[in-house]
Amino acid sequence: MTDKTQSWTRKDLLGLRELSAEEIHFVLETADAFKQVGTREVKKVPALQGKTLVNLFIEPSTRTRISFELAAKRLSADIVNITAAASSLTKGETLKDTARVLEANHADIIVLRHRSAGAPEFLASRIGASVINAGDGAHEHPTQGLLDLYTIREKKGGFAGLHVAIIGDILFSRVARSNIFALLKMGARVTLVGPTTLVPRVFEQMGVTVSHRLEEVLPTADVVNLLRIQHERQRKEYFPGLGEYIRLFGLTKARGKLLKPDCLIMHPGPINRGVEIDSELADGAQSVILDQVTNGLAVRMAVLFLCASVVKQ
């Protein structure tokens, strides 16, 4: 597999906007090999043996952190988890100093989750270790975007001509941005759906279609990607309440009937059952939500492996 890494020259994965279609394709292909590892009796390979990975999660996360931790363990890396509450950042240490301390401890890979857009870029330009963006503010969540693409590719065979609808809180969503950047590069058509306050028109300048009527979009969609409504931290200015949101934008059973039979239903989780998606649809035959989780592991193994290999050279 090492000869393949010559097509990958990045020590960091900061976002999908900066990747070419070829690079995205290459990560997905690398993930194919790692997905196969997960089906073996012994699910572990020595690819990152002797490497140290730090999960630096300044903003709380469970599923992404666990996915990275499992991915690193399957690659035989040593892992340290740092959460915001336990880090020196609560004692006033700057992100730069925290990173320098990690580097002095010979960390090879830093997986960063941070509330501030651009924090991974900030870190990557200041340290030699690999920086993997595990979500920065409303900016990017590249491994989530890659695992979404991996899942679409796995089920649909490719991207050309596909119509992907991303539904919900686009304005504050890093998942949406990473998906938009990557899907457009791979030749898919993207429609964003949600209230005007959460899906402003300015998104059209990126090359997507903006719609505020879910019913008009569903019949032509090949994939619907439902984003979590973060009502617990949403300012009240953005929409009147969950009841109205469900009425206008919830993927209810009735609206589910508008979907093509082979339309994929995706969700990055955690799901608000009965809000953005009806419970039966989330568990139904069109749902690939758990495939996304499984694929996330393979994609993250691929990303860690590729970036760490570049640092080694």
Binding site: R17, T94, L95, K96, H114, S116, A117, G118, A119, E121, F122, D136, G137, A138, H139, E140, L171, F172, R174, R177, P200, V202, F203, Q205, M206
Partner: protein, 431 residues
Amino acid sequence: MNTCIRNGRIIDPANGRDEVGDLWIIDGRIGDGSEIRSASGADESKINEIDAKGLIVSPGLIDIHVHFREPGFGWKETIESGARAAAAGGFTTVVCMPNTSPVADSPSTIAWIKDRAAEMAKVRVLPTGAISKNLAGEELAPIGSLAQAGIVAITDDGKCIQNNELMRRAVEYARMVGVPVLDHCQDYDLVANGVVHEGYWSTLLGLPGWPAAGEEAIVARNVLLAESCDHHIHCQHISAAGSVRLLREARARGIKISGEVCPHHIALTDESIQNFDTNFKMNPPLRSQRDIDALLEGIADGTLDILASDHAPHAGFEKEVEFDAAPFGIIGLETELALFLDLLVHQQKTIGLSRLIEMLTVTPAKLLGLKSGTLSLGEAADITLINPNLEWTVDANTFQSASRNTPFDGWKLKGRAVRTIVAGETVWQLG
């Protein structure tokens, strides 16, 4: 010792003068040479000659918007280092903002600043006072007492009074005291936690947006209050096209309102933020090309008639953090004149040299009721010699300012001040 500045192009917009000639400095004041000729037994050899051939001889430049960080934040800039930066940029008078620690909202703090400036500063450093106590926007500062202590204007710069009733009373009160009101125009609800211009780039990068309407709403408020209170409100660092339109309409109706422009708002668009470099983070933020075009139009037609830097020093360790956590602001005194010369006069040809100098001298002087900004006979000899065609490269490491937070490091610019004279004494000269 008396001085004669020989053969320069003397541009003195206040007196409608633009001609090649000699300018005399007699006992620290502007003269015409007759003083020397009439003095019996005058010794020509005691005259200090400055050859200004090819240079512009301008009234000393005035920047009405700087932050010198003292008292309280001396690690960013002191009155001494800030004044050196001003001198190196060609400025003989600067007006410093009251967001210090303590806030300049009491006569004793104003007295401290004036004492410090008298002791340490190479150029004239004029204090402003706060509009509201502690810049909290809740109750009036003792504006009358501040005026007696020597402020030239009131402002809550960095903050903006949201309570329209309080602002109204402040403007009325300032009219009695005789000081203009300078306002940083920002509606807190519309702007919320915004850090960059709300538009394509904020959306793409997922950075909280600072919408143009957040400035325009307060400019509109200020137009209404300037009219109803019949007193001057000066809108600081105008950045948005809509603000220019509001000011143009108001000024056409004779309302006492004005606006200022900073170099960065015409030199850079919000596209510059895409690498999350905090040296491109300032308040108000860099906006779109459409906004730049409107600012240039406003400068060309006189709607915007004052130029300033909003010189806002921050230490490297303060700026070297996550984008949304970094403080707003960049330094500007040592690149200001060059950027305006290069962009407005050389590149865009928005205005001519004489108008540029007017906007940097007599217009701000009039706003603040200062006698400076002219080369009138008998006035203090504050003079800036400018080489409008000198090509140079910005090197932040050579700055006099104590801070380095500039987005213009490495820029090649055309034109700069080569000598700065305050009360007849050369306080800075290009080495």
